[in-house]
Symmetry: C2
Subunit: 298 residues, 2 copies
């Protein structure tokens, strides 16, 4: 895979992730058909698949078999997809547009959207447990523990709770960072770490670098998201633009201003690239992915 140009590599991973998700999700003809149709609607044919890209890029570092990485990619993407479905519900962000399509509760109904999210979370853990992903099954149990922690009350779900509490409140930069480390960062960091765990063990210094990269990219992703939300229009974004400001939610742009938020993104990017530079040519996709995350337009 190394040597192929980055856009081609990215397209390959996106395609194989789409195929793996399509195979894992129950067919829309299987009962309960409405639920399965809605699950497929929520997950397939949309999104940049940033977390699966990180899984595969990190897995390359450890010579992990791509078939194993597909299972991990599905698991993290299903957790991400379920969080979007629940986040869009009227009692949360009350959003009607996601990935350029009506949100699940608009296309179906609220109760179905609730169950879609619940069932996608269960399917994520199934994907991580039902086939061998490590040479050592005990290592695979550790991977499941990591995903559960990253998704749970001290990870992603906890970050969303902090987000809820912070609406309309002035936050310091430290508080904003604390929120994003949980809400977005935990799952992105887990994507990177889980990818390498499907392959040969890394040296402790390499693992430390990778973990640092995962943390930096998680934060980077959110800073860029805030910049895009402030500047883009809804058609480009595929989701409702400017909604953070409408909801009176603190963002890096409202806190730092656009210029300083952009400078922060560039500085985090430089740090992330430097962190993986020492890992050698096998880390090239991690380097390119960080750059892609900053320069994406949606």
């Amino acid at each position: 895979m190394n040597g192929a140009d980055f856009p081609a590599w990215m397209a390959t991973i996106q395609q194989r992730t789409e195929a793996a998700l399509a195979a894992l999700l129950p067919d829309a003809g299987i009962a309960p058909a409405r639920l399965h149709g809605a699950m497929r609607y929520a997950v397939l044919d949309g999104g940049k698949r940033v977390r699966p890209l990180l899984v595969h890029a990190a897995g390359q570092l450890a010579d992990a078999p791509p078939e194993r990485l597909d299972k991990v990619a599905c698991a993290v993407e299903l957790i991400h997809a379920y969080s979007l479905v629940h986040d869009d519900l009227p009692c949360m962000d009350d959003d009607v547009l996601r990935r350029g399509k009506p949100t699940v509760h608009v296309e179906y109904d609220e109760a179905t959207a609730l169950l879609v999210g619940d069932a996608l979370q269960a399917l994520a853990f199934q994907s991580l447990a039902e086939a061998p992903l490590c040479d050592d099954p005990a290592g695979q149990l550790e991977m499941i523990t990591q995903l559960a922690r990253a998704a749970g009350s001290r990870g992603m779900a906890g970050g969303q709770a902090i987000d809820l509490e912070s609406v309309g409140k002035p936050l310091t930069r430290e508080e904003l960072e604390y929120m994003h480390i949980h809400k977005t960062g935990a799952l992105i960091r887990a994507s990177v770490l889980l990818g390498t765990q499907c392959g040969k063990p890394l040296a402790p210094a390499e693992a430390d670098r990778l973990d640092r990269y995962g943390k930096l990219v998680g934060l980077l992703f959110q800073v860029v998201d805030d910049i895009l939300d402030a500047g883009a229009d809804t058609a480009t974004l595929g989701k409702t633009a400017g909604k953070d400001a409408d909801h009176n939610k603190p963002t890096y742009v409202t806190l730092l201003g656009l210029t300083e938020a952009r400078a922060l993104a560039e500085s985090l990017l430089a740090d992330a690239r430097q962190t993986v530079a020492a890992l050698g040519p096998r880390a090239c996709r991690l380097d390119e992915l960080a750059t892609f995350i900053v320069h994406r337009k949606f």
Copy 2:
């Protein structure tokens, strides 16, 4: 434990389950405090703990260490608790009372209740992955797969989707049974099977009997629930009584009438007791539990 009378055994298991859940759930002082407080509110100090009782009763058959069974008991009870929190939401059953207390979205708010359910599901899988529960880690991965299937779109969440679709529709007895096999039965059956998997392997014929018992008890539980819902008052039940009829939901009582529903419960009980009788004295708790489920008052 054998030889102690059943109520004392039940109280012991309920107490150790309560202690295990209290230790597993993050302290309400840990951030995000509101979410953690709401998670504890949803899970602790309530419920008959039928699924944990089944885990321990089945575990006895396989000489499973009680400390392992506590972890499994927490996992199935957390899945059950999350499903109640989401089921009570306005977009689902819209219920205000559960286990004699205001439901989570009434005591807190809808968004918090949504996140409580999401975080409890993640914690359930964490409980099943983070400590050794089988002599063979590969067996533990199978246990996680089983729980994921029992909780997901072809298990509990799928059963709830079928329930949603069936409101106001005439169902045949076969369709009603199909719904309950998924909605309630899948997790009860999983509780029984997961309990034995923490211990010594059962002979195939024993495992088949146990699986049959799990299926019968799952159905039995629902038939009795329908009978209680039709006859009890809200104070006795600890949740809103008569809500199935109010919601125009088909139940065994509306379908068969009270007398025939009671006869069905007694017939399923006799079948369940006969099924475990051949497993010898170590199965006594399974026998007693089935009887308890039929003769409970709430």
